[in-house]
Structures are given as C-alpha cells and as structure tokens.
Amino acid sequence: MKAIELLESGEEVHGRAYVKLDAGAVKDAVEKLKEGGFNHFVMLSCVDWLNSNEFELVYHMWSYEHREHVMLSVSLSRDNPSMPSLHDVFPQIGTYEREIHEMYGIDFEGNDDMRPFLLEGWHDMPPMRKDFDSQKFEEEVFDSIPEIEEDDDE
C-alpha cells in the first residue's frame, strides 16, 4: 500500500493501512503523507484502553489519488497524557484536539484554543474516560432533583 511505502512501516488491517508511531514522529509522518497525496484529513479519534493504562490516538487520512485510507496510531500513557499539536498542518485538527481535550483530558502543546467545545459549566472529570460512570452520575445529579410541591388548596 502506498502509505506503508511512504512511511516504511505498518500493516494492512481490514483493508486499511495501520501504522504505529511514537508521539514525536507523528507531525513528520502527517506532513510526509500530505505531500504524498494524502490531502484529506478525515478525523482524529481517541480510544481509552483502561486495562493497559493507555490512550490510543488514531489519525485518519485519505488519499483521493491512491484511494487509500491510513490510520496512524499513537499510544500515550493515561497519567498526564500530552501530545504536540498539529493544528497548523490541517485547520480542522485544531477543533478535534479541542474536543479530545475536553472529553479525555489530553493536553496538546502548541494549541492555544482549549476552550470547552460541547459542555458548559462542567466541573467533573472528562466524561468519555472509561472510569466515569454515566448512569451513576445521572442518578446523583438529575434523579435527585425533587418535584414541585404544590399547596393542597389547588
């Protein structure tokens, strides 16, 4: 596959090129792929592997020329995760990094715009992490709000 040729590593998984990289090597890899015809940045995902104590960031890119999709996978530790930002390579990466910072708590160095994207007034732990229990949160916050007590003379 062309992406595996360009980066000289990786394997084919379910029809896509899947390449594992270190955090410092991602920016060069993305720029190299961009010059090699992979000019559509699809999205930036984050997977929380609680059992092995790591976050996996996956950068998805697509080439219209070669009709190929590549997934660049980076592994970060769950304690103090941080990653250099790529928002100057493609403009939409800035928005993805902002959302991942809010939902998982990962720091992106070099990206100044880390304002909350989706939630307002949130002060709890980042909600997409696996140790955040959404059902328990919902019971404690929303189910505990009492009904309106009306006077009996209605």
């Binding site: 059902q135 919902e138 916050v141 309106i148």
Partner: protein, 177 residues
C-alpha cells in the same frame, strides 16, 4: 365595565384561535414540525403560525430532549414571553428521559424545571398526533384549565432552585425517586 372573569371567557375564545408558536427547534423531535407547518398538514387553518421572537409568542414547543445548555436558553425564552403562555412537550424524552436515560447531559423530567400544559407521547410523535395536541390545547384554553404560567409564578423559588441544580451539575442525595 366587565368583570375580569367574564372578559377572560371571551378573550380566551378569541386567543385560542390565533396562537403563535415560538420558532425553537430544541431537539430531534423538530423534524416532524415542518410537515405540520407546511402544505400537507397545514396548522395555519387552525390559526397557528410560527413567530420568531419570544416577546410576541404564545406557545413554547419543547420538541424532544433538552440538554442542560439548551435548558438555560429555553428558560430565558420562556421568561421573556408574556402571559398567558403555554408549554407543550413532545415525545417521551421530557416525560421520563426516553432513549437517553443514562446520559450525563440531558435532563430527564421537564416538569421539574418548567410548567407543562400538555404532553405528547411517541418517538417521534406523528403529525396527526401533533395536530391532536394543538386541538387539545385549544380545548384546555377554552375551559380555563391551561394555567401553567400562574403555577410558575406561584412556585418560582422551587423552579429556580431546581434549574440552578441542573445548570451546575450538582450532586445531591437521592431524594427524588
């Protein structure tokens, strides 16, 4: 001079035939509202029309679920509307949480935050159901039973306390159910 009770019986008959609905698509139930407003089901023959500003609207439609961020704006819009004003809630999400019952960002029961006059069930309610509820609201206005705004004024502190607890995501003891 007429007494207020006699006058309001006549004015309610007139106002039920010309309700203005506030244009606010709060959730996924709003997809069945355009068929009701346009030529197939046509709610204008009952006198209902859309209105852009809350200052001149009569009916607030909560179409589906509400997130906490939207609830803040809905409360502001509701308080800007002038009495008499009515709230209709669509779908099963404002009744008991619906499909998103374990979500961390949606409110589960609307009547703890705003006084609701009529509910529609379904996910989503069909346009015939929506027309039905408009006619039911007109009946309730005519008989004088739709008085949500008076309840909001009377129990204002309780509503505000509930709204603030939701906006701040405060954890409380499980006093509700």
């Amino acid at each position: 001079m007429m007494r207020y009770e006699e006058w309001s019986r006549i004015s309610r008959k007139a106002s039920k035939k010309s309700l203005w609905m506030l244009h606010f698509c709060t959730g996924c139930g709003a997809i069945e509202l355009p068929p009701v407003m346009t030529s197939r089901y046509d709610m204008e023959r009952f006198g209902m029309g859309p209105m852009a500003t809350p200052r001149q609207a009569d009916v607030l439609l909560i179409t589906g679920y509400l997130t906490v961020k939207t609830l803040k704006r809905v409360v502001q819009a509701y308080e800007q509307m002038q009495a008499p004003k009515y709230v209709i809630s669509f779908g099963s999400c404002p009744i008991n949480g619906g499909m998103y019952w374990d979500s961390y960002n949606t409110i589960k029961r609307l009547d703890r935050y705003l006084p609701v006059d009529v509910y529609i069930g379904g996910c989503m309610p069909r346009p015939e159901g929506v027309m039905n509820v408009f006619l039911k609201l007109m009946e309730l206005i005519d008989s004088g039973e739709a008085r949500g705004w008076e309840k909001y004024q009377k129990y204002y502190e309780q509503y505000k306390r509930n709204q603030q607890r939701a906006f701040n995501f405060e954890r409380g003891e499980n006093e509700g159910d």
